[in-house]
């Protein structure tokens, strides 16, 4: 189930330095949000805060749950249940098949979660047109790998997908087809997508674009719409 986002006075620090400061931000469930900005601006840091991977201050609520109030293991469990993560360089296990990669979460989930995860992984792989079979992903192209990674993120049926530069490792054509597939899949399932990207083709397909510069949100195409 997708969850609405509510942020106030979010602050991420590293020692004396403030990496990110977001005074106020909210987004409804099912929104497709892009984040852009220069290198080193704090985009990844923002994504990490949204997924509860780093310590932050303030309030960061997904639905009723304030991630910042949760203990680390509680955040891990929240991520497992509600979030799918997609990385620039895919981070797959080259030695495993696409199905095994996509169904990875089944390895650490309780027994009765496994069959649905595995079924959804297979379904997502099929919808994304990933070559079937027992071939390991080590021999896959970048586009095919990122599809496997997307299937992995979808397999647990999370409400939120967080992607960090999902097309940056792909050539133009592969990126474009991936963008089509990703956005239509996300829209069809009603999930929230937050994608950090420099890729205008991807950003064009999203509902709302945030610009982050020097650790602050300096632009928001959804601000006037809201």
């Amino acid at each position: 189930m997708a969850l609405p986002l509510q942020i106030s006075d979010l602050e991420v620090r590293a020692g004396a330095r403030t990496l990110l400061k977001v005074a106020d931000l909210s987004a409804p469930a099912g929104a497709l949000i892009g984040i852009r900005g220069p290198s080193g601006a704090g985009k990844s840091t923002f994504l990490h805060a949204l997924s509860g991977l780093i310590e932050a201050r303030g309030r960061l609520c997904w639905g009723e749950v304030d991630l910042i109030r949760l203990r680390p293991e509680g955040r891990t469990a929240f991520r497992a249940k509600n979030m799918g993560l997609i990385f620039q360089d895919f981070l797959l296990f080259d030695e495993l098949s696409p199905q095994a990669n996509a169904g990875l979460a089944g390895l650490f989930r309780v027994r009765h979660d496994r069959p649905p995860i595995s079924a959804r992984a297979a379904e997502a792989l099929a919808r994304l047109g990933v070559p079937e079979g027992r071939r390991t992903v080590g021999s896959f192209s970048g586009g095919e790998r990122q599809r496997v990674a997307i299937a992995r993120a979808m397999a647990t049926d999370p409400g939120l997908l967080l992607a960090d530069e999902p097309t940056a490792s792909l050539d133009r054509r592969a990126a474009d087809t991936l963008i089509d597939d990703l956005t239509s899949l996300v829209r069809a399932s009603g999930k929230t997508l937050i994608a950090v990207s420099h890729d205008p083709h991807l950003l064009d397909r999203l509902d709302r674009i945030l610009t982050i510069e020097d650790g602050r949100v300096t632009g928001d195409t959804g601000a006037q719409a809201a």
Binding site: R79, A80, A105, F108
Partner: protein
């Protein structure tokens, strides 16, 4: 408690102590792996670093195998030599080094030893408690095998009566040990001396016929050819222990003044307790020396015990070094795998799962190495035993005992606990830091 334990069968005790040793491994494994399925990821790790993994497994296997092999081989040699000396209750020789005399008389190692005269032999042979007093005379050989002169009773005693063919009944006949490549009816001419310096022509014209073959005893006597001691004396041109009127008779009693001498007398008493009395009786200053080969061997083992201890310390040190390098390797390899592990955490895998993967990977390597090491050790013992048996004719049986298995399991268990360290270290670095790089 103690009594219950002592009352258990040995196998049950062994199994239980092995179980106790493995307990830490089983507990850690149970706690870490419960509810998870890390095996496909462990297999992926195995495959990704296959050459390094192979190296680790071999390293563990070789060091474990060497430790096990050394201990088992040493024990095999000890029991084998004790068994080879079993029939030799008491040995009487001229005074000298007990060890030299034992090696010559019991293990048939070539050496020049002084002789006992007829009077000395007579005193021993006529002692009421002595059942067998066998003179043994060596110095000749055939094809490298010692030709030993003795009496028929001793041959029967030595082989427990298990002789194919028959015992020698007159001078010029011989009974061959089981390892001798001569058949009944074959004839040979003994060479004078043994080894490289043996003189094949010295006894030209002498023909000795094999009339019997002894069953295998697992001692150097398997490679000996036993002939009447009279024959030994005769081919050396000496008196043969009997006056002319006795004709062809062989065996005791011998006439003391016609007895040319014997390097050693093997004594067997009817009663075990008599041996102690006999030993002190036959130990006469300047005349004779009596000793128990079993005691001499025990002394030898005691001296060797220090060497053994040094050996076990060395093998433990080797094990520790191997363990350290394997641990270091695990650190390095998990470092290389750190992004994937961080990704697992980012995907919502609990810490315990990541630990299960890293630990399971380490323990799989250790387990493979240990099992292979046991196999290596067994193979090493097999080969070494064969070599030792071939060289010395002391039957060394290859066996891996519980002591070695316990050692290997202890190593495995301790290492499996240490493998928690790389698993824990992986978790100390923040997930995001590992994701970046």
């Amino acid at each position: 408690m103690r009594e219950i334990w002592d009352g258990l069968p040995v196998l049950a005790q062994d199994l239980m102590s092995a179980g106790a040793l493995l307990l830490p491994l089983l507990v850690v494994g149970g706690v870490l792996l419960r509810g998870f399925r890390p095996w496909s990821l462990i297999r992926a790790l195995m495959w990704r670093f296959r050459w390094a993994n192979l190296l680790f497994v071999l390293l563990i296997a070789v060091s474990t195998g060497m430790g096990i092999g050394l201990i088992a081989q040493e024990r095999g040699l000890r029991t084998g030599s004790a068994q080879a000396a079993e029939k030799f209750d008491l040995v009487v020789t001229a005074p000298g080094s007990e060890l030299t005399m034992m090696l010559a008389a019991v293990f048939l190692q070539p050496s020049a030893v002084p002789l006992l005269d007829g009077a000395a032999y007579d005193r021993i042979a006529n002692h009421p408690q002595v059942q067998i007093a066998a003179p043994v005379a060596f110095g000749d050989s055939h094809d490298g095998a010692p030709v030993v002169g003795t009496i028929a009773d001793f041959v029967t005693y030595l082989s427990d009566g298990e002789i194919e063919g028959r015992i020698f009944t007159r001078s010029g006949e011989a009974v061959a040990g089981a390892a001798i490549d001569l058949q009944i009816g074959d004839r040979f001419t003994p060479a004078h001396g043994r080894g490289g310096g043996a003189d094949a022509e010295a006894h030209d014209g002498v023909q000795i016929e094999i009339v019997g073959r002894m069953a295998r005893s697992g001692s150097p006597w398997d490679r000996a050819i036993l002939i009447p001691i009279e024959t030994v004396w005769e081919v050396h041109g000496l008196a043969n222990g009997h006056p002319f009127e006795e004709g062809d008779r062989i065996g005791p009693p011998f006439a003391p003044d016609l007895f040319p001498g014997t390097p050693a007398v093997i004594v067997h008493a009817d009663e075990l307790w008599a041996n102690y009395a006999l030993r002190s009786e036959f130990t006469e200053a300047g005349e004779t020396m009596a000793f128990f080969p079993g005691t001499v061997l025990a002394d030898l083992y005691r001296v060797m015990g220090d060497v053994r201890q040094a050996m076990s310390v060395m093998s433990v040190v080797t094990q520790v070094l191997v363990a350290a390098s394997v641990l270091l390797g695990l650190f390095i390899l998990t470092r290389l795998f750190q992004r994937q592990l961080a990704m697992l955490r980012a995907l919502g895998a609990p810490r315990r799962f990541v630990m299960a993967v890293v630990w399971g990977y380490g323990v799989s390597l250790l387990l493979a190495g240990t099992v292979l090491g046991l196999a290596f050790g067994y193979a090493a013992v097999l080969v070494l035993s064969r070599i030792v048996t071939e060289r010395t004719d002391i039957l060394v049986t290859a066996s891996i005992s519980w002591a070695e298995v316990t050692l290997a399991l202890g190593f495995l268990s301790a290492m499996s606990l240490l493998s928690l360290v790389p698993a824990l270290v992986v978790l100390t670095r923040p997930v995001v830091e590992n994701l970046r790089q």
